[in-house]
């Protein structure tokens, strides 16, 4: 009698344990990056994860995986300021913040805000501006939290379809929302958006979801269906195949950018706004490709 009960309890526990097992596993992102700077011919040797004026980072912490891209606004070059300094420092500060655990996974806007104000704590007088897009995967709750300021963005692809995407934030044509630090004499006339103006969103993700985070160099040159076509070729969840796919997407966008006859999404948008243009948009391209997989140490 007793043994039947104990046996029954064992079986019940095993069954329930088996059912709930999928929910208690931690998720993680397997990520790879690839990109092209607009003037890659100059051969400026930069620290890794910088493509032209774009910068990105991939960071892991106990509780979360975090990705980020930032697109430095090129117009600063005309004033003698290197636009990659701001975006690069912003991304490295976000990365350091994540590595040291000074963040809450459900609040990526907080990461952006704190990192932005940390830039002001630097002795070096940083100048410049950039967009920013942060994606945080909370390992335990299986939720993706995002923050986006400007025209960089992300796509979440499930089963060959886009299930989530970010919205572009623009003030007017070709002028995205941007975080900036201006020289004191120009403070009134330089566009400077507060980090709190970033769009944020949160949603659940499943194993096998593909997350593509990129700067506008990609989205302005490659429409969704082309991106999805490339992503279909992704069969494995290992790092090498993700790296390969990211590379092929970036390369394709790079080729299209310099095609003068191709009707890129950028050209399409310009036409819709009354500007008669055609062709790709030469720009820095940064692609971060991630797949949601089970967490392994």
């Amino acid at each position: 009698m007793l043994s039947v009960l104990s046996y029954g309890r064992l079986v019940a526990r095993a069954v329930i344990g088996g059912l709930s097992q999928t929910d208690s596993r931690d998720y993680s992102l397997v990520s790879a990056s690839f990109g092209f700077g607009k003037d890659f011919r100059k051969g400026i040797l930069k620290k890794g994860m910088c493509y032209g004026d774009d910068a990105c980072f991939i960071a892991r912490h106990r509780s979360a995986d975090v990705l980020g891209v930032a697109d430095g606004v090129g117009g600063w070059r005309d004033y003698g300021v290197d636009p990659s300094q701001f975006s690069g420092t912003l991304m490295r500060t976000c990365e350091r913040m994540v590595k040291e655990g000074r963040f809450v996974p459900s609040n990526p806007v907080g990461i952006l805000t704190t990192s932005y104000y940390e830039l002001l704590q630097n002795k070096v007088p940083l100048l410049g501006s950039s967009t920013a897009c942060l994606v945080v995967l909370d390992r335990q709750s299986h939720r993706l939290h995002t923050a986006n300021l400007g025209d960089s963005g992300f796509l979440v692809v499930r089963g060959g379809e886009v299930v989530h995407r970010s919205d572009e934030q623009q003030h007017y044509f070709n002028t995205p929302f941007q975080l900036s630090i201006a020289p004191p004499e120009a403070e009134g006339s330089v566009l400077s958006d507060s980090p709190e103006a970033a769009d944020s969103s949160s949603f659940d993700v499943q194993l096998g979801d593909i997350i593509l985070t990129a700067t506008d160099g990609l989205f302005d040159n490659m429409p969704d269906y082309m991106i999805l076509q490339e992503l279909k070729k992704l069969k494995n969840t290992n790092y090498e195949s993700i790296q390969q796919t990211a590379k092929s997407i970036a390369e394709q966008a790079h080729v299209l950018a310099y095609d003068p006859n191709y009707m890129s999404p950028f050209a399409q948008f310009a036409c819709d706004n009354g500007l008669n243009v055609r062709g790709g948009k030469p720009d820095d391209i940064t692609v971060l490709l991630s797949i949601v997989a089970e967490y392994t140490d």
Binding site: R96, E118, Q121, K123, V124, P125, P183, P184
Partner: protein
């Protein structure tokens, strides 16, 4: 016959055995050693554990903002971020001061007499590691202007354990003199450390950057150690430092025991030789050169010296800071009877981790605080509101009070400082003092000459504070508003119009001040006596500000304009020409001022130390 034979044979047998043993003893020993060695090699080799810091638990000061990752002490934990690169990077741990510039200021405390010659420490930090080990090596990765570390100590307490032990011991692993290193380049500092008798995961580094040219920056600390207590010395046993004061606590407590002995007045000629013939005052003078532990030791030698060493006239100034590791409630109570005439007391850094309790401090204060004029209590984490209450009640003559980095003191405690009407010097650096408390203090302490509100993040509106200063504290000579986030030109204008005697003003990292409002020019015109002005990282400082300073502030000695892009070489040269007293000029990260120009200026103005930091 037969018993004799057996006896003889036994005897012979025993002798033979002994001889064989002694004959082959050396070989036997050798074989035993070989066996031991063999065993040792067969046993697992004692594994050396290497750890990076886990958490910075305490420190006396830092350059960065509270809650920031830039130039703050918390960067010392974890793996290095910068090493082996050299330079002035945000990811390092930087202390608030360097060199002797702050000692030259009028706002600094007068040094205490009787500081032991081997105590050089000006700042400290405490770094905890994950696992307690018996330390075999400590490596400090210094990435900028190395050479500041003067002492490394290890603590027997595990800060992460749930049941802290009753007695906490600190042992000196290494001590040295402040070092002037020749270059600002990064280096790995790994002094040979003593072997200690307990496992430790809490290290304390004490620094002195007086000889350095710029801020020293630390990136990481590596602690190497073994888990089991080493049986043999892993390195040669160092000579025990005769100045090591690890026994002084017993002396101080013994001296207390000695005090119980009744010492009735005696005739002359008690067998103390010529000392009996010397006048009282002369022996007092001789004894006044002894540091405190030696004074306590001398008190035990004979009744005559006991009388001299316990004379309250020897304890008019008392600095207990060098003995922070050994000061306890018991020490305080034993010193109590001698300190009734105490005028200057330095208890900075003492009493942490339960060594001194608030109650012990309060009773000491009640007994000895009546004539107190100067009280240094920097980094005293045992302080509570009750302690300040006792200070406020007892020390009515108090003129100087230092509560720097007492960051565990509750905000409401600071209201009590308003009850000290004679206060002239008040240091509240890195405390939680709030707006209402500081306004109350300023209202009731009109004699304030030196006020330090650096990194006081809980004060909401510095304009109001400035306004109150200009109304009530017109004798103000020095004001430190380092990192006050919301002082505007309005507040600054009121301040300089009311406090005309200001000689030192630190407005470093006050980002809300805009030069375009003319506030710095107004400042220069209003404060002709200005000797120190820090406008660190105010990106709006421009040529016209320097021109006004050149025209009005000829007494200027220290100027920091780090990080502005708007100052040109011409106005800088003019400033140097017009301020002949200038000794310190920090133009780091001023983009228009390049190294070639600095070299030229250094040649023209050799008395000025021009600082130009770099990030490589």
């Amino acid at each position: 016959m037969f018993p004799m034979l057996t006896l003889l044979s036994m005897f012979y047998y025993i002798c033979l055995r002994r001889r064989s043993r002694s004959g082959t003893r050396s070989e036997a020993l050798g074989s035993r050693r070989a066996v031991e060695l063999g065993q040792r090699s067969a046993l697992p080799v004692t594994v050396e554990v290497e750890q990076y810091g886990k958490e910075v638990l305490d420190f006396s000061s830092h350059y960065g903002s509270e809650n920031s990752m830039s130039y703050t002490m918390w960067n010392l934990a974890g793996v290095p971020n910068v090493y082996p690169s050299s330079g002035d990077f945000t990811q390092t741990a930087v202390f608030r001061t360097y060199g002797s510039w702050w000692e030259q200021c009028i706002s600094s405390a007068t040094p205490f007499r009787r500081t032991p010659p081997n105590f050089h420490s000006l700042d400290y930090l405490e770094l905890a590691f994950e696992e307690p080990v018996y330390p075999t090596a400590v490596e400090v990765l210094e990435t900028y202007h190395p050479g500041a570390i003067v002492k490394i100590l290890a603590c027997s307490l595990n800060p992460f354990s749930q049941n802290p032990p009753a007695d906490v011991r600190w042992e000196v692993l290494w001590a040295g003199k402040p070092n002037k290193s020749l270059t600002p380049q990064a280096r790995q500092f790994s002094p040979s450390i003593r072997q200690i008798s307990f496992a430790s995961n809490l290290l304390r580094l004490e620094v002195n950057s007086t000889l350095l040219d710029y801020y020293t920056e630390l990136d990481a600390v590596i602690l190497r150690g073994v888990r089991e207590r080493p049986i043999l010395a892993l390195y040669k046993i160092p000579v025990i430092d005769i100045n090591d004061l690890s026994d002084s606590e017993e002396e101080i407590s013994d001296a207390g025991g000695l005090c119980c002995r009744s010492g009735g007045e005696n005739r002359h000629n008690m067998g103390n030789g010529y000392f009996d013939r010397l006048p009282y005052e002369l022996i007092q003078l001789i004894v006044s050169h002894l540091p405190v532990p030696d004074l306590c030791r001398l008190a035990q030698s004979c009744k005559l010296f006991h009388k001299h060493c316990c004379d309250p006239l020897q304890y008019i100034q008392l600095s207990l800071q060098p003995y922070w590791a050994r000061l306890t409630d018991a020490s305080l109570s034993h010193l109590q009877s001698r300190c009734t005439l105490l005028q200057r007391l330095n208890m900075s850094w003492t009493g942490n981790r339960g060594a001194v309790t608030a109650a012990g401090f309060c009773s000491f204060m009640k007994a000895c605080g009546l004539s107190l004029v100067c009280l240094e209590l920097s980094c005293c984490h045992f302080l509570t509101e009750a302690c300040l209450e006792v200070i406020a009640q007892t020390c009515q003559c108090l003129q100087e009070l230092n509560l720097a980095s007492c960051d565990r003191l509750q905000p409401q405690a600071f209201n009590l400082i308003a009850k000290l009407p004679n206060l002239r010097r008040l240091v509240l650096y890195r405390t939680k003092v709030e707006q209402s408390a500081i306004l109350s203090i300023l209202t009731f302490c009109p004699e304030l000459r030196h006020l330090n509100l650096g990194s006081c993040v809980m004060i909401e509106d510095y304009d109001v504070v400035a306004s109150m200063l200009s109304a009530r504290c017109r004798s103000l000579r020095s004001l430190d508003l380092w990192r006050c986030r919301n002082l505007s030109e309005r507040g600054l204008a009121e301040l300089v119009s009311g406090c005309r005697l200001l000689e030192e003003l630190d407005l470093g990292w006050c980002s809300t001040l805009q030069s375009s409002s003319g506030c710095f020019q107004h400042l220069a015109r209003s404060l002709p006596r200005l000797r120190k002005l820090f406008l660190t990282a105010n990106r709006t400082v421009c040529d016209s500000d320097l021109e006004e300073l050149a025209a009005n502030c000829s007494a200027l000695e220290h100027l920091d304009i780090l990080g502005t892009r708007m100052v040109s070489p011409v106005s800088l040269r003019k400033l140097l020409q017009c301020c002949p007293q200038l000794k310190l000029l920090d133009v780091s990260f001023c983009s228009q001022i390049d190294s070639r120009f600095i070299q030229e200026l250094s040649g023209l103005f050799p008395n000025v130390s021009i600082k130009k930091s770099f990030t490589q």
